[in-house]
């Protein structure tokens, strides 16, 4: 059992358990922390697959920026375990069942899919140089277009975020 495999299984178990932690922990803050942990595990997988740069970005962008944003909001609303609304057991059960059912069905569907193996041979496609080249040659249009996305997101933040007059239930 190579280190590679050990690492793989370790990261897998960690990812799954932390993910479960996200959805099971009552306290939102814990959920956030679990999620960050999950991201770390996933980044580990990236490293295993020679996507080093992605791993870093994942840590920085997701764990660093986005999750902090979440954390920030949660703090702002100071949500905690006892303010946390809980669905009744039946609904949660139904959720688990349906999600599990989907999982099993897709699993059963894909059990016979192609079985080629990822060899550990190191590739350099994950390096910044290559990624940058690809990004700015082949994927330059999406790169530019995504600015539109950000623009609209920005507008959204403005339009939605700016405080206006108080709530008043007008029809329609």
């Amino acid at each position: 059992m190579s280190t590679y495999e050990i690492l793989f299984w370790f990261l897998t178990v960690m990812a799954l358990s932390c993910a479960l932690g996200v959805i099971l922990s009552r306290n939102p803050v814990n959920s956030v922390l679990f999620l960050i942990a999950t991201f770390f595990a996933i980044s580990g997988h990236y490293v295993l697959m020679n996507a080093q740069f992605l791993a870093i970005v994942n840590i920085i962008v997701y764990a660093g920026a986005i999750m902090v944003l979440f954390l920030f909001v949660i703090m702002l609303m100071n949500l905690n375990a006892d303010t946390e609304p809980q669905k009744n057991r039946l609904v949660q059960f139904a959720g688990v069942i349906s999600g599990g059912a989907l999982f099993l069905v897709v699993l059963a569907a894909l059990r016979t899919s192609s079985v080629n193996v990822l060899e550990q041979s190191p590739t350099d496609i994950g390096l910044i140089k290559n990624l940058g080249k690809t990004l700015f040659t082949q994927f330059v249009l999406p790169f530019e277009i995504s600015s539109v996305l950000f623009l609209s997101a920005m507008i959204g933040a403005v339009v939605i975020g700016k405080k206006e007059e108080a709530v008043s239930e007008i029809k329609n």
């Binding site: 609904v91 989907l102 059963a108």
Partner: protein
């Protein structure tokens, strides 16, 4: 002359149009005059035609225009002039004219007089179509036309709901018969592709198309059903007595002399067919005989003067059908003629009586009218003698011929028929004695008003009386003269079926027997009515008075169930059943909408849940159901 035949129905039509269009503007008198003149004119033409046909003995078809033409189906609007039709022309126009004249005075006080004459002319027109038509369809046109006119005339005094009910009853019952007629026609058309008499009869005797005798029977029976309706035979006879609701001259013309004999005419016309259909013939005979007896028995216990006459008409029609049934077609036609004379006479007489009594029709409040109204009573007596079959009067000859023919066919039938004849004699003289002899039983002012009718009414009576005496001598029985004028005249059209020639001795014997018994019956009637007492009837008499409860029977077994069924259809099948289903679909949709709508709980979690379930199902289908 023959090709001028279209004039014959034309005159009444013109009369109808004039009276019909100007019926509110014209003076009453004018209407009567126009009406009568129209009939007179066409009578003149028909006389001409009659003698021409009599001399030549030919039968000609006058083609007017194409009526229906569609593919193989071709029905021209054509008239057939031969011995039979020209004879009927005479009867219809002759008696028609007399009755028109009679009506001018009888209907004089009625505000609808012009309209009345319009209807009357229309009737004559349709009747002429009926007898003149060269194919069954034209006959059918007239057939329904006379039905319409009788409807209109029975319901002439339309304010009275009973009268209009009677009219409706008459029309509907005729329609039932007409359906039979229609089916018969279609059968002929189906098998022979034609409706014209000449082609059809030509096919019948020695044509290319040969059918099973069964088919002949069916056609004949279908046509006979039509005749049942029109000529008031069992089971469709009940409309005729009710038809007495119409004005009396109408009863005389339509419901005694002409229209009701249309059935006999039709069967006589299609004798070639019936001679091939023995089963149908027997049916005709049986029905006729039964009707004769039944109607006669009812007539014994009637008190309404017109009802008595009506039932006697039904019974006489029964005799005619009996004659047809035993194959003596000419005899039937002969009886049609004589019956037309004396029955019209008696109706008109009764009309004169009613006139004098100021509308009273119940013979229980009459009596002794003979003193006040000589002419009426004498002519009426002649009529009674004729119908009772006293030798020397027209009725004797025709009826005796029928009885003879029946005897030749089967003695049992003969005795039954004889019984009916005796009953006829009884109720007729009962009527006569109660009305014209004895002492007056009505109120005083009625008695005060009693008077003989004006000339316009009496002259037709007298003419008809003369006819009812001498009318029979055209057909002397074989024992008296071998030469039977009437049969020889009709021979070109009508050929009797089976043999009716008895030994002279038997024939004498039959004559004697019937005559003797009739005289006895008259005496019995006289005794029965010498001291009239009208206590409520009991037992059989009551049954007879209530016409064997046939109307009630029909009401319970046909009318009520039909109405019940109809309202059941309307209420349950229609509203609740079919419409219920249709509306039910709409309701279901709304209901479903109301339920499905509730899925939209507003909970995001639930929405996603549904979505996930959906995904799972779609995956299952696409992976594990399709493959």
């Amino acid at each position: 002359m023959t090709n001028l035949v279209w004039l014959v129905p034309l005159f009444p039509l013109i009369g109808f149009l004039i009276n019909g269009i100007g019926w509110r503007k014209m003076p009453k008198g004018a209407g009567g005059v126009i009406g009568s003149l129209a009939i007179l004119a066409s009578f003149a033409v028909s006389l001409g035609i009659f003698f021409e046909v009599k001399s030549s003995g030919t039968s000609t078809v006058v083609h007017l225009f194409d009526f229906i033409q569609s593919g193989k189906l071709y029905i021209p609007f054509a008239f057939q002039v031969d011995a039979l039709s020209s004879l009927f022309l005479l009867i219809i126009n002759g008696i028609g004219f007399l009755i028109h004249v009679y009506s001018t005075s009888y209907m004089h006080d009625d505000e609808g007089m012009v309209k009345y004459f319009a209807y009357l002319n229309l009737f004559v027109f349709s009747m002429l179509l009926l007898v003149l038509g060269a194919n069954y369809l034209i006959m059918f046109i007239g057939w329904e036309g006379v039905g319409l006119c009788s409807y209109l005339l029975i319901g002439f005094w339309f304010k009275n709901r009973d009268y209009t009910n009677a009219a409706k009853k008459a029309f509907v019952m005729n329609r039932i018969g007409d359906l039979g007629f229609l089916v018969g026609m279609l059968l002929i058309l189906f098998n022979y592709g034609t409706l014209s008499y000449n082609e059809f009869f030509g096919q019948l005797n020695g044509g290319t198309v040969q059918l099973s005798p069964n088919m002949y029977n069916w056609i004949a029976i279908c046509l006979f059903i039509g005749a049942m309706g029109k000529s008031a035979q069992i089971p469709l006879y009940t409309w005729l007595p009710d038809a007495m609701a119409g004005p009396t001259p109408v009863s005389a013309l339509i419901h005694a002399a002409t229209m009701v004999t249309a059935g006999i005419y039709m069967i006589a016309r299609s004798n070639a067919l019936y001679s091939l259909a023995p089963m149908a013939l027997n049916l005709v005979a049986v029905i006729g005989l039964a009707t004769a007896i039944l109607a006669a028995s009812i007539a014994i216990r009637q008190y309404d003067i017109k009802k008595v006459l009506a039932y006697s008409t039904v019974s006489q029609l029964g005799f005619m059908f009996l004659a047809l049934g035993v194959g003596a077609y000419t005899t039937a036609v002969f009886h049609v003629m004589t019956h037309a004379f004396f029955k019209a006479l008696m109706f008109l007489g009764s009309g004169s009586v009613i006139h004098a009594m100021g509308g009273e029709q119940d013979i229980r409040s009459m009596g002794g009218l003979g003193k006040k109204m000589k002419i009426t009573s004498i002519t009426f007596l002649i009529g009674c003698l004729a119908i009772a079959g006293i030798p020397g009067f027209s009725g004797f000859f025709s009826k005796d011929e029928i009885l003879a023919a029946t005897y030749a066919h089967s003695p049992i039938m003969y005795y039954l028929a004889l019984g009916a004849a005796l009953m006829t004699a009884f109720y007729m003289f009962r009527l006569y004695f109660l009305t014209f002899t004895g002492s007056f039983r009505g109120t005083h002012d009625q008695e005060h008003h009693l008077h003989e009718s004006p000339a316009a009414m009496t002259i037709p009576l007298i003419v008809l009386a003369i006819m009812s005496v001498i009318g029979g001598y055209v057909g002397l029985p074989a024992v008296i003269s071998e030469h039977h004028t009437f049969n020889t005249y009709l021979a070109s059209v009508v050929t009797n079926f089976g043999h009716h020639h008895l030994e002279h001795s038997t024939e004498w014997m039959l004559m004697g027997l019937s005559t003797g018994l009739v005289i006895i019956m008259i005496i019995v009637a006289y005794n029965a009515t010498k001291k009239p007492n009208f206590k409520p009837n009991t037992g059989l008499a009551k049954v007879l008075e209530n016409k064997w409860y046939v109307d009630e029977l029909y009401d319970t077994i046909i009318v009520r169930p039909l109405l019940a069924l109809s309202s059941a259809f309307d209420r349950f099948v229609e509203k609740m059943g079919i419409d219920g289903v249709v509306n039910g679909v709409g309701k279901t949709v709304r209901w479903g909408s109301d339920r499905v709508r509730l899925l939209q709980t507003g909970q995001v979690g639930f929405y996603i849940f549904i979505m996930v379930i959906g995904m799972t199902l779609l995956f299952t289908i696409s992976f594990f159901w399709v493959q």
